[in-house]
Symmetry: C2
Subunit: 334 residues, 2 copies
DNA sequence: GTGAAAGCGCTAACAA
DNA sequence: TTGTTAGCGCTTTCAC
């Protein structure tokens, strides 16, 4: 019943514990014959290294925390996170690194802080940070290697490692598309403006429309419900608007609901462009959503790879923030 | 930079390591004065126990695996899982037990098996099992205390611990509601019939409608898309049907889409009842969904509690499977 | 190339 | 009530 130890393997293979350890860890200098004997013993005994014992001596854990600064509900209901998480976890598990998923909004960071301080993980991937979130300073104080998803607002130099997409450029191209289609009163539903992605997308909108009527700007929160409310508000303020750029597909889907309830046709009466190109949403709305594509899963993979690299021997020389491109995908809503 | 050890705490407090350990672990007999000195030292040094060292000796990990036998995509996009996971994780983190979330469909179980065998966790909560899934036998071979969400198909005696809801009774009450409302051609969209929950709900339908036309039964897969397809098929087979019992809210939402596309009014032309009462779906469809309520989050909590108890000293005497009740919630769709 | 031995930080007998 | 001590299972110098 008791799990076999390295000692048992060594004994069975007729070698010392040290040699057995070398074989198990793929270490260098062991004669081929011995290596085989040890491997056979491992097989026969069904040996699996005791990770606690190992990390007690190596001080490594082969585990990283993936921290989402949103409530559990949000994380599990927003497909954007799902897609990003998929990318991260694919890359990490491929490298045989455990993933510990932590999530919390505001007050609950203490639990996460405690966990990170506990030293169970070698590094962290943190995303969906909001202005003022204490997480980064916690990680920094701990000296925990960290990669951020989305540019942190305090990211000045290239001290800090992050993966972001070209939010501003993407937003601008979306709005320019609307302008080119002859739309004149183009509103925008922004994300929560305490997030850089939301701010950057708003800037992109403003780049294309420097003199836009401020009443055409409504703040959402990246959720369908937020999109719904913002759309209703925009309609109340400027009934004559003829296009909307929503800073996320989910908000666009909420806006779409309002539009349909009001009997407004998309794109005939009002053109709608989203952002993200979330694979479970954008192609499936009615009508399918014209949106700004970003490689969400790829960004997740990238974050994971950056972290892995900065965990490496060299302490992660030659790793720097990455900005991934975006591109407009034209479907039927605009 | 190096994290303080218990040794350091002990020295600073002027006590032995053993005493320091007792204080840290809330152990019994330590004089109040010493206890305070130690706690102060812990504070000042910012001491956090090294979990690897601790579990090396205690052979406990204060961690459990939560295994969902579905693809990552499904897990992160199905609000049913979100709600269940919320319950589980609430209960577990309250007990200061780490949660390791593992998910995979079919082929990928090997990775999970390897993880469970690695002995990083004290137990497992497993749900959304399909017929023939190897997970249970893996857990059993490992002697890993396990609680299942949903009755496993091989659960005969009360050897196996699970939490399930009264699927059959709930389904029957849903269909009886339709019958009482005067519906005559009542179809059903089942879940994947390799899951007991799906089979039980189909049985409930048949309980209420022993002589139902087999063409009124279509198999879905608990996703909106599956519901869509099944609905389309039913309509093709029996254009005259006047009611549908969908075995999940998500499938009902898919069915609703088809109905709307065809210009069929709900409930006037076709009445629709769902199952689950998922909080982010059922109240928000158009029209709001009449559905069979089950306390999803509560079931999650229950699973966690059962596991925790069976992990306890007593080896979990007096723990037994639990069947939670369901009840019909009448909204507007039927 | 291989083995002996020294710990990693902690808990749990056992003594005192 | 407190301290001493013996490991938990593993990696990693350091000799050989």
């Amino acid at each position: 019943m008791a799990r076999p130890t390295l000692e048992a393997v060594a004994e069975r293979a007729g070698v010392s514990r040290a040699t057995a350890s070398r074989v198990v860890n793929g270490g260098g200098s062991v004669r081929e014959a011995l290596r085989e004997r040890v491997n056979r013993a491992v097989q026969e005994l069904g040996y699996v290294p005791n990770r606690a014992a190992r990390s007690l001596v190596t001080r490594r854990h082969d585990a990283v925390a993936v921290v989402v600064a949103e409530s559990e509900d949000r994380v599990f209901s927003d497909p954007f996170f799902a897609q990003q998480l998929r990318g991260i976890s694919a890359e990490l598990t491929a490298a045989d690194v455990q993933v510990v998923l932590l999530m919390a909004r505001s007050g609950d960071f203490s639990k996460i802080a405690r966990y990170l301080a506990g030293g169970y993980v070698d590094g962290a991937v943190v995303f969906s940070l909001h202005q003022g979130d204490a997480l980064p300073s916690i990680a920094q104080d701990l000296g925990l290697p960290t990669v951020y998803g989305g540019r942190p607002d305090w990211a000045e130099g290239d001290e800090v490692l992050y993966v972001d997409s070209d939010n501003r450029g993407g937003a601008r191209s979306a709005v320019e598309h609307l302008v080119a289609a002859g739309r004149r009163r183009i509103a925008t539903i922004t994300g929560p403006l305490d997030q850089t992605a939301a701010v950057d997308r708003l800037r992109g909108y403003q780049d294309a429309l420097p003199d836009a009527d401020p009443a055409l700007i409504a703040e959402g929160d990246f959720t369908p419900e937020g999109g719904r409310q913002a759309m209703a508000e925009l309609l109340a303020r400027r009934p004559g608007l003829d296009a909307v750029f929503a800073a996320s597909d989910l908000m666009a889907s909420g806006a779409l609901r309002v539009l349909r309830e009001r009997g407004l046709r998309v794109p005939e009466d009002i053109a709608l462009v989203g952002f993200d190109d979330v694979d479970t949403v954008a192609p499936w709305t009615d009508p399918p959503l014209t949106t700004v594509h970003q490689d969400i899963e790829g960004m997740g993979r990238l974050m994971a790879r950056l972290l892995l690299r900065s965990l490496g021997e060299d302490g992660g020389n030659a790793v720097a923030p990455v900005i991934t491109p975006t591109r407009l995908v034209v479907r039927n809503s605009a």
